[in-house]
Structures are given as structure tokens and as C-alpha cells.
């Protein structure tokens, strides 16, 4: 058998699910953030697969944007986490729940 588009999609979907799972599971904000990156990657994979199989360049170009955006996001996000750590000396979500009702 040959590899189908669906196989790639499955992998990407699996990655997405795992990423989501990680976000749900972990309490370390850094790890949560990593998992989010993972989800973005899953999207990338799907995109590339689609554009390859459907013979359209737009997907690949989109990936380019996604990567750059992700990079920027990471930079800002980490900056926030660091700044917060300076205040609270922790990166654990349940210890970062001062704002509540």
C-alpha cells in the first residue's frame, strides 16, 4: 500500500490531540506552552500534506507564516512567563490563580 493523505492527517490530528492533552495535563506553564507549539506543528503537517496532495502552493506558503508567527508568539510568551516568575517565583498554573472570583 502507499501512504495516503489520510495517514498524514491522522498523524497531524494525533499530534494535535496530544498537544491538547498536554495542555490539559501539565501544570508547568512552560510545558503547557511547548504543547501549544506542538499543536501548531500538527497544523503545519496537515497543511503541507494537503498542499502536496492537492497540488497547491498556498498551504506551504501559509506554513511559512505560521512558523514565523509561532516564533514571535514564543518570544513574547516566554517573556511574560519570565516576568511573572520574577513576581511569583513559580511557573505552576494553580499557583498563578490570584485573579478569580
Amino acid at each position: 500500500m502507499t501512504i495516503e493523505l489520510n495517514d498524514y492527517l491522522f498523524v497531524s490530528g494525533l499530534l494535535f490531540a496530544i498537544g491538547f492533552f498536554g495542555v490539559l495535563l501539565r501544570r508547568n506553564t512552560l510545558v503547557i506552552y511547548m504543547c501549544l507549539e506542538l499543536m501548531l506543528n500538527a497544523v503545519n503537517l496537515a497543511l503541507v500534506a494537503f498542499s502536496r496532495f492537492h497540488n497547491s502552493m498556498d498551504g506551504n506558503l501559509f506554513v511559512f507564516f505560521i512558523i514565523s508567527v509561532a516564533a514571535a508568539e514564543v518570544a513574547v510568551g516566554l517573556a511574560i512567563i519570565v516576568a511573572l516568575y520574577r513576581k511569583r517565583q513559580t511557573v505552576m498554573v494553580e499557583e498563578l490563580a490570584e485573579l478569580r472570583n
Binding site: F10, L45, N55
Partner: protein, 192 residues
Amino acid sequence: MSDFLFYLFAALTVLSAFLVTVSRNPVNGAMYMIASFVGMAALFLLLEAYFLAALQVLVYAGAVMVLFLFIIMLLDAEKGRTIRPNRLTTAASTVGGLLLVLGLVYFTLGDSAAPATPLPAVTELPKDVTPDNIPYTTSSRSYGYGLFTKYMLPFQVTGFLLLIAMVGVIVLSKRLDASGDQAPAKTGGLES
């Protein structure tokens, strides 16, 4: 052959991704993350997206994850090891994740999946491009064509986005000097 490679790298990607979510120590997590990214890059190669594969390795595995590691070290990740996710969270998240996977299976492997299409042949350089059709090409030059014509505007906006990110990071982490706006007494800087 390529099938085998696909399975190999897919397994690598997924497995290490999973390990990221479960590994106690964030440092290990970061390592697995890199592995997952590399696997992803390999999959890109299989899809003949060479330029993206390169970007993947450079930006993600290179820049992003290094940044992550650096921060993890900086924030003394040792604390992360001691606490373990409590049962409830584990159970709930597992259920959630499984639900998603279930949906995925129902979706991709079920009858509702998109009809499969044969892998089209691809050229290296773009041919017979029309405004609403840019076929798949492998050369990195074709990215340039796309980005600077059709995707010119998003491209520029991305530039501003990076500017925003840069300014933002500066705002969030630069030590306020005495000029104009001095740091209020109650802010503890890194030096503390």
C-alpha cells in the same frame, strides 16, 4: 521504502510528542520536543517541502527550543520535578485527549474522510501560474514568488508582527533605566 520512512518518522514524531506531555522534567520534555520537531522536518522532506523542512529545523529545533531550554534552566526547573499531576487532572485530561483522538479516528479513518487523491507530479519551478492557482513546486525560489506577489500584504504585516513582538519583549523585560520612566521601587528586577 518511502512508506517505511513515513512510519518511522511519524512514529518518532508522535512518540516523542507524547513523551513531551508526560515527562516529569521540563528539560527532558524540551529534548523530546526537539526530537519531535526533527521528525516533523523529516515528514516535510517526504512531502518534498524541502524549504519548510529546513525552516522547521532552523527555527523550531534551532531557535525556539533553545530559547525554551534557556528559560527552563533560568527558572530553575528543579521545582518542576517534585510535583506530580494529581489524579483528577490526569483522569480528566486523559478522557479529554481520548475524546479528541476518538473524534479524529471517527473522522479520518471513518467513511467521512476526504476521498483520496493520487500524489500529483510536481515541478521544481512554477509553471502556468494564474492569479487563483499556484501549483505545488519544490524550489525555495517559488516561495519567494508567492510571498512577494500574492502574499505581499500578509508578508509585510508579519514584519510588523515581529516588530510588535520585539517591542513587546523589550517592554516586558528590559530594566527600566532612570531616564524618563524609572523603575518603581516595588519592582524586583533580575538582580534581586
